[in-house]
């Protein structure tokens, strides 16, 4: 067994640059979402298809990102 179809790509989500990592292990697809800066992983999901895994991970990511407040310095 190994990871197939491994990919990473950058995307914009609600004003934040994120990194979406996707791969398949056996029949399950996995997706994790990290901030591009500073590179912290904050959402993940799995599913029967890549689309399902990414959709759920991005839903979680959007929810968590909504809690991040940007302050003026």
């Amino acid at each position: 067994m190994n990871a197939d179809d491994y990919s990473t790509r950058n995307a914009e989500l609600d004003g934040w640059t994120i990194v979406i990592e996707s791969y398949r292990v056996g029949p399950r697809f996995y997706c994790t979402v990290s901030s591009a800066d500073p590179g912290a992983r904050f959402a993940r999901s799995e599913g029967a298809t890549q689309e399902e895994a990414e959709r759920v991970a991005l839903e979680k990511a959007r929810r968590y990102l909504a809690q991040t407040r940007v302050r003026k310095t």
């Binding site: 067994m1 190994n2 990871a3 197939d4 491994y6 990473t8 934040w16 990592e21 791969y23 292990v25 056996g26 399950r28 996995y30 994790t32 979402v33 990290s34 901030s35 800066d37 500073p38 590179g39 912290a40 992983r41 904050f42 959402a43 993940r44 799995e46 990511a61 968590y64 990102l65 809690q67 991040t68 407040r69 940007v70 302050r71 003026k72 310095t73």
Partner: protein
């Protein structure tokens, strides 16, 4: 040019060839504590940083007796070669290595590129929890020369006795955000310790998760005046990203006096009366 202490780093090839050798134990430590179950390097042991690499009652590193038990249960003896790897370019693998060095483990290494590179290369994975024979382990007295506590950091800020390196992202450094995007805010104030230089941890890595060359690393830190002729204290939010930078400075660049301030911003940014600089 090779790293100053190149033996602390092994490649994914090396792990594929030697991960099952007698006297070698591979251990996965992830930010995402569910990642190990998805599939890991065959025969690798998995450690959970939230429960196994810290004191779960007091805010502290793992106590010596718990550390000894973790090593023994993981089939690690004092003379075992331990290879650590994990997600997020080895954040918590470096955290584990730092603690193993505190307790005096001689031969502990990082798999360059971590879990990301292993997956991307399509290498073998296993979902079986590793069954390893129990070992005997006696930790050495804690070596606190690689760990900075608050008074030393305060002294460094006041007197310039050490270079302070803040390895968080630029927006955390300036105080625009209090935690990495998407993660819970864990401090009352944003900003950085006065006088600290901002060198985000990720600048030490290539796109594939491996470490940059020694020349690139020298340029990165030297460019902001962080050099080997002066003590260095690295910090971040909770101490794991800074253990990654600590590893780079201590082993890849060979700085003689580098400490990880694991109290980091969750201590400083909550401390009543602590001076804060922004942006």
């Amino acid at each position: 040019m090779p790293y100053t202490l190149p033996d602390v780093l092994v490649s994914t090839d090396w792990v594929a060839q030697h991960g099952n050798d007698a006297g070698v134990r591979v251990v996965e430590v992830d930010v995402d504590t569910t990642a190990y179950e998805q599939g890991h390097v065959p025969r690798a042991v998995g450690w959970n940083w939230t429960t196994q690499l810290c004191d779960t009652l007091v805010r502290d590193i793992i106590p010596a007796d718990k550390f000894e038990e973790l090593m023994a249960a993981s089939g690690i003896a004092p003379d075992t070669t331990v290879v650590l790897y994990g997600d997020n370019n080895n954040w918590f693998a470096a955290w584990a290595l730092w603690q193993m060095k505190i307790y005096g483990h001689e031969d502990v290494r990082i798999m360059d590129g971590g879990r990301k590179k292993w997956l991307a290369e399509g290498r073998d994975l296993s979902t079986d929890a590793a069954q390893v024979p129990r070992a005997k382990y006696k930790a050495r007295p804690a070596d606190t020369s690689i760990r900075a506590f608050l008074p030393e950091v305060q002294e460094a800020m006041k007197r310039g006795s050490a270079a302070l390196v803040d390895v968080r992202g630029p927006q955390e450094f300036t105080g625009e955000i209090l935690a990495p995007p998407g993660l819970p805010e864990t401090c009352q104030r944003g900003g950085h310790i006065p006088g600290a230089k901002n060198v985000p941890w990720g600048k030490a890595c290539n796109e594939d998760g491996t470490f940059k060359t020694i020349d690139e690393l020298r340029q990165l830190y030297g460019g902001v005046g962080v050099t080997s002729d002066r003590p260095v204290i690295a910090y971040c939010r909770i101490g794991e990203r800074s253990s990654h930078t600590w590893f780079v400075l201590k082993y890849l660049l060979g700085f003689p006096d580098v400490k990880n301030y694991d109290g980091s911003w969750t201590e400083w940014g909550n401390l009543v009366g602590a001076p804060v600089e922004k942006p």
